[in-house]
């Protein structure tokens, strides 16, 4: 299948990336050539194949439900582009 410009704009919206109108054409071309390459997989019949979800022969470990970290608010806030004492600051979301 081929991806048209509208589809790409929709996917960009889902990914929260604004796409420059001037770049949509070249992006469409690139993505279509990539998908053409990817779609080679359709040559294979995989009806009876189990999907591989983990490469490890082990199941994920669980740990005790205990706090092992904490009291690091300052460290967590340190890299924030905008903060107000104890909080991350974002543009207004509620009128």
């Amino acid at each position: 299948m081929s991806l048209d410009k509208e589809k790409i704009k929709h996917v960009a919206k889902l990914a929260r990336i604004s796409v420059d109108e001037a770049k949509v054409d070249s992006l469409t071309k690139d993505l279509n050539s990539i998908f053409k390459f990817i779609e080679q997989l359709n040559e294979l019949n995989t009806d009876k194949v189990e999907p591989l979800t983990s490469i490890l022969n082990q199941s994920l470990r669980s740990r005790k439900d205990e706090i092992s970290d904490g009291k690091i608010r300052e460290k967590i806030l340190k890299n924030s582009p905008k903060k107000n004492e104890e909080f991350f600051v974002v543009p207004k979301v509620v009128e």
């Binding site: 991806l3 589809k7 790409i8 996917v11 960009a12 889902l14 990914a15 929260r16 990336i17 604004s18 796409v19 420059d20 992006l27 690139d30 993505l31 050539s33 990539i34 998908f35 390459f37 990817i38 779609e39 080679q40 997989l41 359709n42 294979l44 995989t46 194949v49 189990e50 999907p51 591989l52 979800t53 983990s54 490469i55 490890l56 082990q58 994920l60 470990r61 740990r63 690091i72 460290k75 967590i76 340190k78 890299n79 924030s80 582009p81 905008k82 991350f88 974002v90 543009p91 207004k92 979301v93």
Partner: protein
């Protein structure tokens, strides 16, 4: 002592131990080399003051009991380093200073090494030429017009140019082995789960694995020993006893069975790559190994599978860059959603955006089964190919890359042709196996070419041993003219 930096890590360790050179002198020698090599653009950040301080501390109270006592090391800028800027080659992390240290780098420091600087790489490790970095492309010391490979291109360039005695990279689809091949150095991608992923900027979590890049196979075994090990903080870390790879390194490979997969002879492969492969086979055969023809029938589907799985995981992993908690934030936009959209559009480069869009699309409602589920099924078939072969052979020998280092700008306009560079390295990541790239020869232009040894899961020792024997008998020597200083 002017040429101490030409030496291998193991030789340098010997010189430190026997006090032929102090850690401070060694560190100063590397700093001098780095300052003279700015043209290569291998470093994003240097930590010279901190390194000199650590070297002095070591010299005052030398403790030679560690694997990397007194050794300065530069690492790929994908490993989070406490209080040292970590960018992943991206504008979106240009101001990010982690308050924690990645497990793998912490392991290196616990083994006596200290940080010399952070090495350039493709943005979020997405690239095969180090041309997608926000901090500019890196130059291959082999020639001023050549890419150093990618994504660990700063690592391969710095190592080959004697700017660090050894280094570490990460490998999601070939990002250690391909740059090693392009620079005539040794690179190992370990078994998935052997080295902790904790504190490494995530690209594709089911494929990412950190590994060593070194001048010799012995150095590679020392570095692997130092960096690997179980980590509670990585849910996919393998809990097993630590191995002494360097102590157990042996060059006797008599009787080992080496598989030669017919599918790795691809269309339009340069004759030189074929000849190199033949040379490699002959060396191993002369050392007493047995060559066995094998088939990995789904090889050609590995790259298309990878370009679904990796972008899908990347689109999830990179969703965290929202301009709120850390990293770059756009000043444009009238509300929260526009702030997100502008932040991500301005913060990410073209290749990263392309992959996020691919990933978002293949995971989106209505397309998941056709792409992502399909890819997971083919990934199963690729893994099964290897499982079947490893009932018959001890290791597999292939070329590392389908070409030598290419020119800067040569493939930037055609993403698929760039992706095809990873054709021999990607299957290993999909199957979670260890693989070692070894310098094996030069093409007719005089550029290095590598061969790859693939092992069973957790069989690093065996491929290191084969590599060690190969290295002794191959006669490859990296002689790089220092044109940049």
């Amino acid at each position: 002592m002017s040429n101490i930096t030409n030496q291998s890590l193991s030789e340098i360790l010997e010189s430190i131990k026997s006090k032929k050179i102090s850690s401070l002198e060694l560190t100063q020698a590397y700093i001098k080399n780095i300052e003279n090599a700015k043209k290569l653009n291998a470093f994003v950040t240097t930590t010279f003051d901190q390194a000199l301080e650590n070297a002095k501390k070591f010299d005052n109270k030398p403790n030679n009991e560690h694997l990397l006592s007194g050794i300065p090391l530069a690492v790929k800028d994908l490993f989070c380093t406490e209080n040292v800027k970590t960018t992943a080659g991206s504008n979106i992390l240009n101001n990010f200073v982690p308050s924690y240290e990645s497990t793998v780098t912490k392991n290196l420091w616990n083994n006596g090494a200290f940080l010399l600087g952070k090495l350039n790489c493709d943005e979020f490790a997405m690239g095969s030429s180090n041309e997608t970095s926000f901090f500019g492309n890196v130059i291959n010391p082999i020639g001023d017009h050549l890419v150093p490979g990618g994504s660990s291109g700063g690592s391969s360039s710095a190592l080959a140019a004697d700017l660090t005695p050894a280094t570490i990279g990460t490998d999601t689809g070939g990002s250690i082995r391909q740059p090693a091949s392009f620079t005539g150095t040794v690179g190992l991608k370990p078994t998935y789960g052997l080295c902790s992923r904790w504190g490494i900027v995530a690209f594709a979590s089911s494929l990412d694995q950190a590994g060593p890049m070194t001048k010799t196979v012995n150095d590679c075994s020392i570095m692997l020993e130092a960096m690997s090990g179980f980590d509670e903080k990585d849910s996919t870390s393998i809990n097993k006893k630590k191995e002494s790879y360097s102590k157990n390194l042996k060059d006797n490979i008599k009787g080992l069975k080496i598989g030669i997969p017919k599918e790795y002879r691809v269309d339009n492969m340069p004759k030189e790559i074929d000849e190199l492969w033949e040379k490699g086979k002959k060396i191993l055969k002369d050392l007493g190994a047995q060559l066995i023809d094998i088939s990995l029938p789904h090889t050609k589907y590995a790259l298309p599978t990878y370009y679904i799985v990796a972008p899908a995981e990347a689109s999830s992993n990179l969703a965290r860059y929202d301009g709120v908690r850390y990293g770059y934030r756009s000043q444009k936009g009238k509300d929260l959603i526009e702030m997100y959209e502008n932040t991500r559009s301005e913060g990410f480069g073209d290749e990263v955006k392309r992959r996020i869009l691919i990933g978002t699309y293949v995971l989106s409602s209505g397309y998941y089964d056709a792409y992502y589920l399909k890819a997971q099924k083919v990934r199963q078939l690729i893994k099964k190919d290897f499982d079947d072969s490893f009932t018959k052979v001890d290791a597999i020998l292939t070329p590392s890359t389908p070409s030598s280092a290419f020119k800067i700008g040569e493939k930037t306009n055609d993403p698929v042709s760039m992706y095809l560079n990873d054709i021999f390295t990607v299957p290993v990541n999909l199957a979670g196996l260890p693989a070692l790239s070894l310098p094996a020869g030069l093409d007719k232009q005089g550029y290095p070419l590598g061969l790859q040894l693939i092992g069973k899961a957790l069989d690093e020792q065996k491929i290191l041993n084969i590599g060690y024997a190969f290295e002794k008998n191959c006669g490859y020597k990296n002689e790089i003219k220092k044109w940049w200083s």
